[in-house]
Symmetry: C2
Subunit: 357 residues, 2 copies
């Protein structure tokens, strides 16, 4: 294992310390328990977005803390859910009174921890809501979660909902919008190589020199299938068609309702993509694939969308939700309306995403 | 070899096509000969910065084309200098009459091609100057160049000189400033792994499972030495001390003087870093190292600088000058005065670097 790390049990702490030293104007870190908050938190009268999850997916989530995006982020150990006490402490630190929206990627551990945190915050009088992101079309049900996994759509949700919070939407409005962006997003990823967690010291999975994994999860968990290595156009077509041909997807989502003081279930349906749609496209590196290669993927994706009369209205090309040093890519498409595009364009200032300021 | 590419001889063309599709608001690409220019080039009354070099170092240089940075970039084949006809055509495309500054990384092939291009442009009546970047403290003279190689300092030169051009500095002023930033910059890199060029299909060099290379070049060319893998703090200390302990470095630089219509030689000296200096720090991924690991490097670098009473006034942490998918990092420090910091902070809008807009 070759990594730029020191002691294995200090990896996350030292990365957080590095972030604090580099971005003191944007964020503060707390190490006991671990969370990262906006430097100016709590921001008066603004809803605070908190997300979190296992580390190893940077810049998600800590790199998205700042003006116009997350108020707080809770990093777990690598590929391991953070604990409810982190989320609870982080929620208290960022709540201005306007409430906290917890953005939860759909993994069993994350869901359970955030549910406990939501109840703790509610018990303390903090207005709290939750939104689930489950955009990965590769698999339904897995070792890691029931239903679809939460992947690249999370980046889009955090940007748009963050802009809405900054614009003064109230908690119910931000939550409704975030859930709408979530169900408008579909993603699929692939791996050229495995990754190695510091604690394991060896690759998470084995992949032959001439094999790739289609539908890979962001923890290196199995995807749809393995196949011989092929070219970028064929890989892009595979990923894009799974996303674009995915039918209506209906699931029941539990979310916390602060008015009822309890969990409510909603049945939500993601409508398929259609000609005439405008989308935000994320072409994402799994960490070890350089940006140059992503442009070849984007080129083919643009051609595929054009042929289907789908307009890529905005795009993000780079490493935004990663799996350590894994090589490979993922594609996320989010059907976007005028409101979402306007909020997408709104200023953002975080370590990993910045524009308009 | 596993990469997201199609036909090997189409790699650069397709990446450029992808950039054109993704960033039509920022840039235009020309494929015969290959160059990338600002979408709004030529910009009236503004000096135009043109750089270029072998591909494989993305986002350098094409990812830095846009408002406040480069007017044009000329990508060669991977790790291969572009040709004078590319630079000549690019220079003509971006020249508004205010002239063109060619930013040249110190590699023999780049230097020769840019010299020919400068003479061709001058012959066509284009006011042209050149600036050399030679900031790599790892080696003096190598297979690739006489003197020090040009590496991460190039990013800093392009940002600051680009802001100066945008602010209306004339050609002589931009050139003088760019040369001053160049000699105020020192860099050093290291590799955890090799990289593989598509044409070769196998690693550029062999590195044992427990070995790292200190002082690596951005083409995988040999560095200072190999050593057993060690921790991030030790690696950061090695790189930072080479940079911070480097003495006065004097060299003779040829640059084109449009008034004389000929090449002039200047003797330039880089002064050593000293307590009280303010610096811009670049902690750079060689391509395959994820941003998370760079924060551990930044953490140690910040401690080292603090102990020497050197203030990191600005910093950039990410993949800005890469070697395909190589894992490893480099550190660049640029001694910065008020003018440089003000220009650093000025708005920039390129695919890879954006703020203030």
């Amino acid at each position: 294992m070759k990594k730029l790390i020191n002691a294995i049990d200090a990896v996350i702490t030292e990365q957080m310390e590095g972030m604090a030293l580099a971005h003191a104007d944007l964020l503060r870190v707390n190490l006991e328990p671990k969370f990262i908050v906006r430097a100016d938190a709590p921001v008066a009268d603004k809803v605070a977005l908190v997300s979190g999850g296992g580390s190893g997916h940077e810049p998600l989530h800590g790199g998205f803390v700042g003006m116009g995006m997350l108020a707080g982020a809770c990093p777990g150990e690598i590929f391991t859910s953070p604990t409810p006490d982190q989320m609870y402490a982080c929620g208290l630190a960022v709540n201005s009174g306007a409430g906290v929206l917890l953005i939860v990627k759909n993994y069993t551990g994350d869901v359970l921890s955030f549910e406990t945190a939501a109840e703790l915050l509610h018990g303390d009088g903090v207005p709290v809501r939750t939104v689930l992101v489950d955009d990965d079309v590769a698999v339904k049900d897995s070792l890691y979660t029931a239903g679809r996994r939460g992947v690249g759509g999370t980046v889009i949700v955090e940007k748009i909902a963050g802009a809405a919070a900054e614009a003064g939407y109230d908690l119910a409005q931000v939550a409704e919008l975030a859930q709408r962006v979530s169900i408008s997003s579909r993603s699929m990823g692939m791996a050229l190589t495995s990754c190695t967690t510091p604690a394991a010291g060896k690759p998470t999975f084995e992949l032959g020199d001439d094999e790739i994994e289609i539908g890979i999860g962001i923890h290196g968990e199995p995807g749809q299938r393995r196949m011989p290595i092929t070219d970028a156009d064929a890989i892009t077509t595979l990923l894009a068609e799974e996303i674009l041909d995915d039918g209506a997807y209906t699931r029941t989502v539990r979310s916390f309702d602060p008015d009822a003081g309890d969990w409510v279930e909603q049945t939500l349906t993601s409508a398929p993509f259609q000609p005439g749609d405008r989308v935000i496209a994320l072409v994402n590196s799994m960490g070890g694939t350089p940006a140059s290669e992503l442009y070849t993927v984007y080129r083919k994706l643009a051609h595929i969308c054009e042929a289907r009369n789908i307009t890529i209205a905005r795009r993000l090309i780079g490493a935004y939700i990663t799996s350590l040093e894994m090589q490979g890519c993922s594609i996320t498409l989010t059907r976007a309306d005028d409101e979402m595009l306007r909020l997408w364009d709104a200023p953002v200032h975080t370590p990993a995403l910045r524009w308009g300021v």
